[in-house]
């Protein structure tokens, strides 16, 4: 058992960024790196320096199917005998990685943020108030799901690996989930992913009136309004403005987070140059992720902002 198996992720024929982050993580570990890609996507992009082999597996289904994905990963593990399997801690990853580890009695940890040889991993504990270090004694192979954004993505292509169709494939009879269709997000109004300055509002916004007032502040400071999930669920704002794992990923120069606690699922969608956080709770995790923070009432601070932008 040696080396790393990276399970790439694709959706609708395109590789997702997290695949290249997993390659970045794999490069920090010992042993050969091999990549598994299930389904139809540009496999050559996964051939980055340091990768020994890219195995492509034809899927009998056009879209992600968790049982076929799990079976392909199990077959790849049997063939390649890796010490570590890296899969994304993504919404697809949630549906198959733990199943593979459970069925094969492997080591397993999810949402890991750092990996060392051994392996030994770091992940959050107690709602990320603490961090835990995990080891996997007696496990020849360990499956790890890696938090998106925890590792830098490597540039696609440029490697000297073999890119080969695998001589195994999951049998279609294992498929148990039938894809009925995608519903596209409605991109109405401003596109939050294109904004330079995002005013992100969270659970700390108590009511719709306050939300409307803060929209006025956003307009005055030329910011685009985004929100964390609780405000979308409360109906204050449309899902197209939701930042986070199941929302959108924003890449503004400045992300001004008001009343956002900083749950991992939210921070997964924040790739900002500078994060400024205002929250009444001094222990809010957002202050660990932010560059600047203030423990203050978000309304009192927000009301004082527009005068500086006239």
């Amino acid at each position: 058992m040696s080396g790393v198996l990276v399970v790439a992720e694709a959706r609708r024929g395109e590789l997702r960024e997290v695949s290249f982050e997993l390659l970045g993580a794999a490069a920090t570990l010992s042993g050969p790196v091999r990549v598994l890609l299930v389904g139809d996507a540009p496999a050559d992009a996964l051939n980055v320096p340091g990768v020994e082999e890219v195995l492509t597996v034809a899927s009998p289904r056009e879209h992600f199917e968790p049982h076929l994905q799990a079976e392909a990963v199990k077959q790849a593990i049997a063939r390649l005998q890796p010490a570590v399997v890296l899969a994304p801690h993504s919404l697809d990853g949630l549906s198959y990685a733990a199943a593979v580890a459970a069925e094969l009695d492997l080591g397993f940890a999810s949402d890991v943020i750092a990996i060392e040889d051994g392996p030994a991993v770091t992940r959050g504990a107690y709602a990320h108030r603490l961090v835990a270090r995990l080891e996997f004694p007696g496990k020849a192979t360990t499956v790890l799901t890696v938090r998106p954004g925890a590792y830098e993505a490597v540039a696609p292509g440029g490697g000297s690996a073999r890119v080969t169709p695998a001589d195994f494939a999951p049998d279609e009879s294992l498929a148990a989930v039938e894809h009925l269709g995608y519903v596209e997000p409605e991109i109405a109004g401003e596109d939050i992913t294109a904004a330079n300055l995002v005013l992100a509002l969270g659970r700390g916004v108590p009511d719709a009136d306050t939300f409307a007032e803060l929209e006025g502040v956003a307009e005055a400071i030329n910011a685009t309004v985004a929100a964390s999930r609780p405000l979308v669920d409360a109906g204050f704002v449309s899902a197209t403005r939701q930042v986070g794992q199941s929302g959108r990923t924003v890449k503004p120069k400045v992300y001004l987070a008001l009343g956002i606690s900083g749950a991992v699922q939210h921070l997964a969608g924040v790739r900002a140059g500078t994060v400024i956080a205002v929250n009444t709770d001094p222990a809010a995790p957002i202050f660990q992720a932010a560059d600047y923070g203030a423990v203050a009432d978000l309304r009192e601070v927000a009301r004082e902002l527009p005068q500086h932008f006239r």
């Binding site: 919404l91 580890a101 459970a102 009925l180 330079n196 400045v254 001004l256 203030a294 009301r303």
Partner: protein, 236 residues
Amino acid sequence: MKVLVTVKQVATLDDRLDVERAEWDLNSWDAHAAEAALELGDEVVAVTVGGEQAREALLTVLAMGADRAVHITHDGPLDPLATARLLAPVVQREAPDLVLCGAHSADALNGATGVALAALAGLPRMAAVKAIEVADGAATVVREVEGGLVERLRVKLPALFTVQANINEPRYATLRGIRKAASKPLEVIAAEDIRPGAHVVATTVPPKGEGAEMLTGSAGEVAARIATIIKSKVAG
């Protein structure tokens, strides 16, 4: 339809970050799973794994309206695979039409136990769904994937789904429900030895100092600093 819901009593730390002095509550995602189970099922069985305090999670779900509960007693830490191995025999014995789990537990945030349980119990599964409709022996579910994209899927029952918090608004237990809960069947099973999928070798307070530079002063002073930072970082 018989629905089995897995629940967990989760620990919340206050600013002392002392695990011994944690507050324990029903995992909020599991409350959503229980609500979905009560809406969909005409027989609802709640199952938990844990020490004495985990019984409270079952009593909460019984008070919400579940018919009976199973407490697999186990003291000490559990990883998701170990928990799934303890739950699987109960799921197989109960043979429900549908198994629902919270997508995550609020303390460990593994997002893994339900899917591992499905694999061990031989059930089809899909993680993190936000809507479930059942008709003609199959479930039509909706899940959100990255980027706001929504996928609709169909899965024949029996199956297991883990549910997101936006699937519903959990009901509160009524006083009558709480009184009735105490007399509902609550089976206790002692956990067998289990094989963990990981060992926690250390749990530590994350290093400080990498956090934010704190802006202090009045709201007006904080706003002025924020405005200066914004202007310096956002050209034009």
